[in-house]
Amino acid sequence: MWQWLYKLGSPKWFYTIGNRVLPWLWGVTGLLLVVGIIWGLGFSPPDYQMGDNYRIIYLHVPAAGLMKGSFYMMALCSAALLIWKIKMADIVAKAVAPIGAMATLLMLVSGSLWGIPTWGTWWIWDARLTSSLLQFFIFVGIIALRSAIESRDSAAKACAVLTLVGLVNIPIIEYSVEWWNTLHQGASDLSLRDSSANPPEIWIPAFFTGFGFIGLFFIGLILRSQNEILLRERRSQWVKDLLLTDNAKADTESGINTNA
């Protein structure tokens, strides 16, 4: 197994594997998302309390999962870069940051839009929303640091250090926000999770959209990483061969250009 993982460390291999996986990923993700959304919007029974407004959770919960998952993946890549000096880890971390930030934004938007009918205002200082807002600021901080440092290698290592510092601080932030929330407002009874009184099958669409989100995440990750690989390896022979063969045939729809 290690041999396969080791190979992923080489940009050329990552690029070719990416190209091979992408068509499948497109198909599966599209299918999952379409089924999940249609089922969630049209077919699952309305919530006994909130009526159809609860259909927002089919996007809210996967977005929250993606927010967490993308940060842990960035932390993993940062550790790999600092400890084992894997150049590929920085390429992936750089690709994940914007997607994670946008997922957090989606989580915040869906959370506050869900809140309008239930809480009466579009923003309340609910514990989960507030810690997600802080997580969004941390994402923005990492992206800002990467764009502020010119030299690419020190930017990579600096962002890796900041990500790991963020990783240590996030549980502390969540704990302090949780404690602070109980102090000021008491646990909000209508939190997003306790729709337990509903029949279990309302969770089936969330299953589909959840994996659809993960598929979408990896599509974005592979595309962005491939761009970064092309930029960094533009002088290497395999990129020249790859692009010369492209001249020979019409450039296929971007993103699925068949490899050499």
Binding site: P45, P46, N53, M102, S110, L230, L244
Partner: protein, 61 residues
């Protein structure tokens, strides 16, 4: 297979009175999908063009 919850398209659009909260979220989700896919595809085309231009310059030097 669970049956369809809404009897007409208008009812679906109205989303039980919560239309102005549910649909914007799904629109934002569409933006999220476009954001994950479109910018990299666009910059891919720009990068490929750049590299090819440089290759051509080096070839006829």
């Amino acid at each position: 297979m669970p049956e369809f919850q809404f009897n007409s398209l208008a009812e679906l659009l109205n989303m039980g009175g919560y239309a102005q909260y549910v649909w914007p979220v799904y629109v934002f989700f569409l933006l999220f999908c476009l954001f994950t896919v479109v910018p990299p595809a666009y910059s891919r085309r720009k990068i490929v063009k750049q590299i090819k231009a440089r290759l051509r310059r080096e070839e006829n030097q």
